[in-house]
């Protein structure tokens, strides 16, 4: 490649809001129910049905806008986006085009390349579509409207990103903010957060943007990174071949690591937006906006500072713990129960992180009850179990959310405090290892470590390490 190219990326991020009901009807938004069990005339487009706006959707959208430095349109409206598809029961989606609720915000991201601001063009409210299930036996598709009408916000960024790293940093930042607000759980795999990537390339220094494509069907951060790389390469190859990029929507296939155009003669992409006559405008008073701002929960920066000041945690640890809303919640709830912030932090920072990595999970996937971690810490503090055993117990808490007290009893993991038994084990070991005793007495401290290890093994880890240490030293020194 002779020329240097720059990648220009903008994102359209859809986030399902954590409301109990749909945006325009009283159906539940519960995930994973049998097809069409959360439906009514409104969210299935029955003739004569009419939408009524869920107030909580406006509050969440406003909260996200305020937390991302957006201006709020204090007079906003809903428009109909007209297109035919079976997952869209009315064949129009209620969305916002002309007067979206939030506009012109930004978030700051940090990558290896440094800090930068990514602009947010607008945030609008809209309804989600239903789900199409492809029936392989009958060569047909089945439509489930349970998701139809679930509230979404679409966050449209400016074309401010230049690499996959920046895109991931931006998405993680958005996710963190939205999770902290409680506006969504933002799970990519379950589809409660979805990103479409608008990407173009241009020669470095070129004043104009190149022709962009829109990439859909990106279900993980990894898929997003791969799709960006794939699309960048595809566009550069086209340009190098003297061809042009076509403005189109493409679908990413993460298994094949390639994309294909979603073009169809029947897909005119002319959405004929117009104000929805069935809905009235939303007027947001200064007071309402202030109320939402005041109710805004503690965000990450504040939390981070508080963890350092209040709990005396190192900045690094506070950073990891606040890097996930769920992790921070688990931390705080456990501390509230056991009052040992450093201890709780240690468990989460080392053992929990190790297990998450092993299981290829996100902190959001941790399911155990904070009370169980608190109980575990209590067992260590009171000497009921030692640290080695405690790690095994933590693993059981982490994976199966067991009650540590019961678990320790059932598995017989209590520390053995029988001095006679301990003395007997050590003396047998010393008798079998005279060289170690000689080495120790010659000043080789390491030799004692070997005997301690052997003792712990013989005691099946249930001995109190401090007691073992003391007795081994005493007996070896004789």
């Amino acid at each position: 490649m002779s020329k240097q190219y720059e990648t220009v990326i903008g994102l359209e991020v859809h986030v399902e809001l954590a409301t109990k009901t749909k945006i325009f009807c009283g159906c539940s938004t519960e995930f994973g129910s049998a097809p069409n069990t959360h439906t009514c005339p409104v969210c299935t487009g029955m003739p004569g049905s009419l939408p009524v706006l869920n107030k909580q959707v406006v509050e969440y959208a406003m909260a996200v806008g305020l937390a991302t430095n957006c201006g709020i349109n204090q007079y906003c409206k809903f428009d109909r986006k007209n297109y035919f598809y079976p997952d869209n029961p009315q064949n129009y989606q209620i969305s916002q085009l002309y007067l979206p609720i939030c506009h012109d915000g930004w978030v700051e991201i940090e990558t290896a390349a440094g800090k930068k601001k990514v602009g947010i063009h607008e945030i609008h409210m809209e309804e989600d579509a239903g789900k199409l299930i492809h029936d392989e036996w009958e060569d047909c598709s089945l439509v489930d409207y349970n998701r139809s009408g679930v509230p979404l916000i679409e966050i449209v960024s400016e074309p401010d990103m230049r690499s996959a790293d920046e895109v991931i940093a931006y998405l993680e930042k958005l996710r963190l903010i939205i999770q902290y607000l409680g506006a969504s759980d933002c799970k990519l795999q379950e589809g409660s957060m979805r990103a479409d990537v608008n990407l173009s390339v241009r020669e470095v220094g070129a004043p104009e943007f190149g022709t962009r494509t829109e990439m859909k069907n990106l279900n993980s951060f990894k898929a997003i990174a791969r799709a960006i790389e794939g699309e960048r390469t595809r566009q550069i190859e086209l340009l190098e071949d003297g061809r042009t990029v076509t403005q189109e929507t493409r679908r990413w296939d993460d298994n094949k690591e390639s994309s294909h155009a979603m073009r169809s003669k029947e897909d005119a992409q002319d959405y004929r937006y117009f104000p929805d006559p069935d809905l009235v405008p939303v007027r947001i008073s200064d007071e309402w906006m202030e109320r939402v701002r005041e109710q805004q929960p503690e965000l990450r920066t504040e939390k981070l500072a508080r963890y350092e000041a209040e709990y005396g945690l190192p900045q690094y640890d506070a950073g990891i713990l606040t890097g996930s809303k769920h992790l921070a919640d688990v931390f705080e709830q456990t501390v509230a129960l056991c009052g040992r912030p450093k201890e709780v932090s240690n468990w989460l920072m080392t053992e929990a992180m190790r297990l998450l990595k092993e299981e290829e999970q996100e902190p959001e996937d941790m399911k155990f009850a904070p009370a169980h971690l608190a109980a575990l810490i209590g067992l260590v503090d009171t000497g009921v179990i030692n640290r080695t055993v405690a790690r095994t117990v933590f693993e059981a808490v982490f994976k199966e959310d067991v009650d540590p007290e019961r678990y320790v009893e059932e598995k017989g993991l209590r520390v053995v405090n029988d001095e006679g038994a301990l003395k007997q084990v050590i003396e047998e070991l010393l008798a079998a290892n005279p060289q170690s005793v000689a080495d120790f007495q010659a000043g080789k401290e390491k030799a004692m470590g070997f005997i301690v290890g052997q003792t712990m093994r013989a005691m099946k880890g249930k001995a109190d390490p401090a007691a073992v240490n003391a007795m081994v030293r005493e007996l070896m020194s004789r």
């Binding site: 029955m46 004569g48 049905s49 007209n82 035919f84 009315q90 002319d270 004929r272 117009f274 009235v280």
Partner: protein, 511 residues
């Protein structure tokens, strides 16, 4: 005199007094249908079994005192664009083939709560698009005054059924004159209320920003009573208005002294039939003699209402009717090749020509590059029209004019030239654009014997003023029923209770 000659309120009184039973009233209407439906075709679906069953239930509730309102036990006909749970609702379109709603429209629920007995669903222009009830997929309705003429539209089935005594009153809907114009052509009374007064929940939308449900009946008293019953603030309709002044019957007072009535000169220009003009001016004279102050004024912008209306209504319709796609309900074509073929064939076979015409126009005016020039321009025009009315209502309590430029045309005449047919709505359409209440009251007949209707227009939320004016005018004359209705009713009285045969439960379809 037959039961059938009674107004809804008069029948309600007789039922309450025990002089007539609900079943008798229901059977009388059903018998009248048996006699006249082959000629008139007012109904798409007649729910004979359901009506008779309901009549007995309502009678019990009247007897035990649960139901005591003025409309308790009075049989009603419902326009076929209002959803009725379990009862076929077609909008007179093939696309809603065999569609049985799973819920009932709010306005109909309000009637049911007041003890209404639903006789069936009335014919209409397909999706309320038309002014003659000839665009129905289930055949045209004919005018009871002369079956060679149209009843008007789109609520032609409701208005003809009331005139022909095939029901005691009916519900219609009015998007551009669809209650007032056929009321005029059929010699009955109809009200299009202020936008937001009657919930639109369950009304299958044509032009959502213009649609309103309203009553059709024999006189102003009935209409005021029905409107009082169906008006409600409905949280399911975001455009519903929370009104505290829905005691419309309180305006039934024969007194217009000092009422300021404006006659828009713009409504009396070229295009207005001379006989219609004469009848309207005579009606104005009656009100003047009763003490109203009547004067002419310039309303302005009248000629722009129709083009603005067709842009707005067609645009909304193109979107509202996109849900009819063969996926969730209604008609699905038999043979297709893939999804889009299924969509296109189902819709092309399911919609009639007038509906397609408006969907095409609406899709075009909203399409990329035309939105500002057509749609926004129309919405700005609408704002100006509203301003013109606001100005007029500073000076007048009521605006008086014709409901239509002519009496009912002959069958087949109007559809030959759609644009010409659209022009016939010139006096009614601007009322919908401005959200105003309007009412038609019969005010005579032309040389051919066809009825002429007087239109009274009020400012927003001022139904009581037009009801008062309409009532005062009505007190000066007596209700006339078409000969056909009277003859059929006489036959019922002579032969006694006619034999009632099994109902067409599934309603009709062309399948």
């Amino acid at each position: 005199m037959s039961i059938l000659d009674l107004t809804a309120v008069a029948l309600g009184k007789k039922i309450k007094a025990g002089e007539v039973t609900v079943v008798e009233a229901t059977k009388a209407a059903l018998t009248q249908m048996k006699t006249l439906e082959p000629t008139l075709n007012c109904y798409v679906t007649i729910d004979e079994a359901g009506a008779l069953k309901r009549a007995e239930e309502v009678q019990k509730q009247i007897d035990d005192g649960t139901l005591s309102g003025p409309l308790a036990g009075v049989p009603v006909a419902i326009k076929d664009n209002l959803c009725t749970e379990g009862l076929l609702t077609t909008c007179s379109s093939r696309i809603l083939y065999n569609f049985k709603p799973t819920y009932t429209a709010e306005a109909v629920k309000n009637l049911e709560a007041a003890g209404a007995v639903i006789l069936g669903k009335t014919n209409m222009d397909e999706f309320a698009m038309g002014s003659t009830t000839e665009t129905s997929a289930y055949g045209e309705t004919k005018n009871p005054w002369n079956p060679e003429h149209v009843p008007g539209g789109s609520s032609g089935g409701s208005c003809a059924a009331v005139a022909a005594n095939e029901c005691f009153y009916a519900l219609g809907s009015d998007t551009g004159g669809s209650i007032r114009q056929p009321s005029s052509f059929c010699g009955v009374t109809g009200i299009k209320p202020t936008y937001g007064t009657v919930s639109r929940y369950g009304l299958i939308a044509y032009g959502s920003s213009l649609d309103q449900i309203g009553p059709v009946a024999k006189d102003v008293t009935d209409c005021a009573t029905i409107l009082e019953t169906i008006a409600s603030y409905d949280k399911k309709d975001s455009t519903s208005v929370d009104r505290q002044d829905c005691d419309f019957t309180s305006a039934l007072v024969d007194d217009v002294k000092g009422m300021r009535i404006g006659i828009p000169k713009d409504y009396f220009g070229a295009g207005l039939n001379a006989e219609v003009k004469e009848a309207i001016l005579a009606a104005a004279k009656v009100l003047e003699e009763k003490g109203a102050i009547v004067e002419e004024f310039d309303l302005s912008l009248v000629e722009y209402a129709i083009p603005a209306y067709y842009v707005i209504a067609s645009a909304e319709a193109s979107s509202n009717l996109s849900r009819f796609d063969g996926v969730k309900y209604g008609y699905r074509t038999k043979a297709y090749d893939g999804l889009h073929s299924m969509y296109k064939k189902s819709r092309s076979e399911g919609f009639g020509p007038e509906v397609k015409r408006r969907i095409m126009l609406g899709s075009f005016v909203l399409s990329s590059g035309y939105y500002d020039a057509y749609y926004l321009k129309a919405l700005r025009t609408k704002a100006l029209i509203k301003q013109a009315f606001d100005k007029a209502f500073k000076n007048y309590d009521v605006i008086l004019g014709p409901a239509a430029p002519t009496t009912a045309p002959k069958l087949g005449e109007s559809l030959r030239d759609p644009l010409q047919m659209y022009l016939g709505d010139i006096y009614t359409i601007s009322v919908n654009l401005a959200g105003l209440p309007g009412m038609t009251v019969p005010c005579g007949r032309d040389a051919k014997g066809l009825p002429i209707g007087l239109q009274l227009i009020g400012d927003c939320f001022q139904e009581k003023k037009i009801i008062r004016a309409g009532y005062a005018y009505e007190c000066s004359r007596t209700y006339e029923a078409p000969m056909l209705a009277k003859q059929a009713a006489d036959a019922v009285r002579i032969t006694g209770a006619a034999h009632i045969t099994g109902a067409e439960e599934e309603g009709r379809s062309d399948e």
